[in-house]
Amino acid sequence: MKKLFSLLLAVLMLSACLVGCVQSGNTPGNNSETTPGGDPGTTPGEPAGGVAQELTVCTGPDPETIDPALNSSVDGAIMLSNAFSGLYQWHTNEDGTQTIIADCAQEVVEPTQLDDGTYQYVITLKEGLKWSDGTELKASDFTYSWNRAVDPNTLSDYQYIFDVIAGYSDTTPELAIEADDAARTITIVTSALCPYFNQLMAFPTYFPVRKDIVEANPDGWTFSADTYVSNGAFKMAEWTVGDKIVFVRNENYWNAANVKLDKLTFALSSDDDAIFANFENGTYQYTTRVPISQIPVLKNDPNRMNVDFFIGDYSGTYFLQFNVEQSFKPGIGNVSDDPAAWTDWTPAQNAEVRHALGLLIDRNYIVDSITQGGQLPAYGFVPAGMDDGTGTEFRAKAEKWWSVDPADKEANIAEALDILKKYYTFDEATGTFTDFPVFEYSVNPTSGNLAMCAAIQDMWDDYGITVSVDQRDWAVIQTALSNGDFTMSRLGWIADYIDSITFLEIYVAASGNNHPRLGKDGAVGSAAVYGNGSQTWNEAYEQLITTIKTSSDMQARADAMYQAEKALMDTYAVIPIYYYTNPYLAKTNVKDFLYSPLGFVYFRTAYIEG
């Protein structure tokens, strides 16, 4: 028996040593390591003149769809952005800033104001544009595609992204767009001046699709390389479900001469740890999926951070949202939407309580010790990096709703306690409130969400505020949020385009994303106190959003956006926690890809350095 144990021990030690040796020898940035087995992306036998221009990336599992009209996921959008080309495209300037430049269009055009106050864009296509199968790409292909995407029967997740164009309606849309194939022009009328119009022209839902192809097989045209006709830098060569989608260079792309990659493979995988292992051994050369547990390790390793690990900007906010119908009246035991819970208790008092709850959260601790991915502590709903439409960064000018200076932590807590002491019984001996009602924190159980949940639970628990955790699956929680069947939950909101309206518009009463139920019919807690005191939420907020969406005076529009955020933050129905970042891994020899703060990545200019 002794012999056996010593043998086992020896084997263990030997293997541990081997692991250690190999690991330390395998320094990051050294990309000469051989890939095990057959890497689908890099076949041996390099072409004369350098390394094979073949790249294998992983952005997740099979996308739900890669039909430009139907897609709403970021991984699907990344594939679309490489397979299709819109009228305009994103471009990184020398100084690192990003702007919109022409893609299929000849140039980026300025709108002209029409007599009725609407704005008209006349965009001319480049000459000789072709689809990947060699047929001519016409102006009418664009208008067909947009009319198709906006038709409710097409079932597009992003139907609303066309709402800037005159004639939009979610039931019977008649977009004010017109194509002239002979002149190669597309005429678009918007009801107001839209500062993010150019970005929309680069957005995947606005990419063109081929009418004959789509109509021949509306549900299945995207599944096979034979029918997946596109017009971008790459065209599909193969889609094997659960395995990979292979794209190859599209010789018919107008700028094919400048596309350097011959092959772009999207390996399909959904396990972050497995994806990371495949990046470490070189099977993948780029991935947007980094395991949460690895982020702090990679970030603090000077051999990895900004070498092959990067933290990209990502325009989004992680926040807590409250159902405003639920009363926090002292002494009622559990938070409740029962009318009795609202006697002698007002929505304004409720809002004050939510404000205090927000002040008790130490956001610096959350970004430094929990998320650890370079996120910024949030001090307003619209995230950092968003524009106010006049070229000014929104957050630079907007109010700070609380201080996120680590030095002010105690002051924030003191302020919160002052507010709460007005209403609740404070036991000085234990330093806790004794009659704060218990409420539920609804969360879909991902490791990140649960860690956040536990931290916030602790921060409140210190003061006798008890939160029970209500874990539900993603689809279940989405339904609960839509129906108002929750008290508090977390949510993340990512921008569709770089303009603050993409965040502010979600709280109009009719919005399906207005989970707090601000201004919803019969929402007890959402009474007239919001807005400017004399108006209801609907009147006040709706008016501001309408101003933003219809005003062609960019300054008035920006002013309305600042007021809208103030109106929203005054309710404290949303408590922003942090602004997102997007960590990604890219091997050091992968050069010149373009990453946008919407989370999209473009490989049309990328190459593998020899």
Partner: protein, 308 residues
């Protein structure tokens, strides 16, 4: 096949049909009892699109009507389209996934049975020797390690640090690690099962009789002991094969195997109703079939078992 056997098969088939209908009914109503919808997305759909989607997938009709329609479609072998993978039929997704999962599952199951029976028999014959104890330690360790731990260790050790095996299931040789990860638990379990059952049999009177009669040791062990010791293994192997060929969520995720396993989890998380039904029915069918097969093998192994 004698008439008794035929009657038995018929009876079992009828029972199978009844079981499947019961499973469909329970799954259908439980699934719809969960307050959830496949169309509630992070960014809400417009009302008109949501309505059109519900109409497309028949979710706008009363539940009873949906149920009757579903049963009718199942009879026509039409399991509908997945909601989560737009435009792909449940049949094609499950079929394609099963091709892969079935292949690695069968290989893993066969290897597990062979290694398990051999090691178990060896351990029993060499009872209390170092070999027996080594096998015992290794199998205890294997049974107690969850397969995601095994899979992750294999992935990093052979796929990254030593880099001697491919890390994606679809690459040449890529199935080695998933098969290893899948077979570890059942082979260890079968080893222990065979060992204890074999020890039990070896202590029986008829073995002593056979030995006393001077029957050759090999014949005693293989013809008399092992054959009889395999009955519990057969009981275990039926459902084990059914589970293993329908794919493991964890193992397939970690080794990027385009199998069936992921659908069991993802369809429920996203309320992809047609996929939930399709995967459940498929698993039940395989399970019923494998149980039937193991019952037949029982009979062959032990003539005393009666089909009635």
């Amino acid at each position: 096949m004698d008439s008794k056997m035929l009657r038995y098969v018929l009876k079992r088939s009828l029972l199978a049909v009844f079981t499947i209908i019961l499973i469909i009914t329970i799954t259908f109503f439980v699934m719809h009892a969960v307050p959830s919808s496949p169309f509630n997305k992070q960014k809400a759909l417009t009302e008109s699109v949501k309505k059109a989607l519900e109409a497309k997938y028949g979710l706008d009709k009363p539940l009873g009507q949906q149920y009757v329609q579903y049963l009718g479609n199942v009879l026509k072998l039409d399991f509908g389209d997945s909601i989560n993978f737009r435009g792909r039929s449940v049949m094609s997704l499950v079929g394609e996934g099963f091709k892969t999962s079935g292949k690695i599952g069968l290989i893993a199951a066969m290897l597990a049975i062979v290694t398990g029976v051999v090691l178990g028999a060896l351990a029993a014959i060499k009872r209390d020797t170092t070999l027996d104890k080594t096998i015992l330690v290794l199998t205890t360790a294997s049974v107690s390690l969850p397969n995601f731990v095994v899979a992750i260790i294999l992935l990093w050790a052979f796929g990254v640090w030593w880099a001697i095996l491919p890390t994606r299931g679809t690459d040449p040789g890529g199935l080695i690690m998933p098969v290893l990860a899948l077979m570890l638990y059942p082979s260890a379990y079968i080893t222990r099962l065979t060992r204890s059952s074999m020890l039990d049999v070896l202590g029986q009177d008829y073995i002593r009789t056979a030995r006393a009669k001077g029957v050759h040791q090999k014949k005693v062990l293989f013809k008399h002991a092992l054959k009889n010791a395999l009955t519990p293994v057969v009981t275990y192997a039926g459902p084990m094969i059914a589970y293993i060929v329908t794919g493991s969520f964890v193992v397939e995720q970690i080794f990027s195997v385009p199998g069936l396993g992921k659908y069991f989890v993802s369809s429920i998380q996203s309320s992809d109703y047609p996929m939930i039904m399709g995967t459940t029915i498929f698993l039940s069918l395989i399970m019923i079939f494998m149980t039937f097969i193991s019952d037949v093998i029982y009979k062959i192994l032990d003539k005393r078992i009666d089909f009635e």
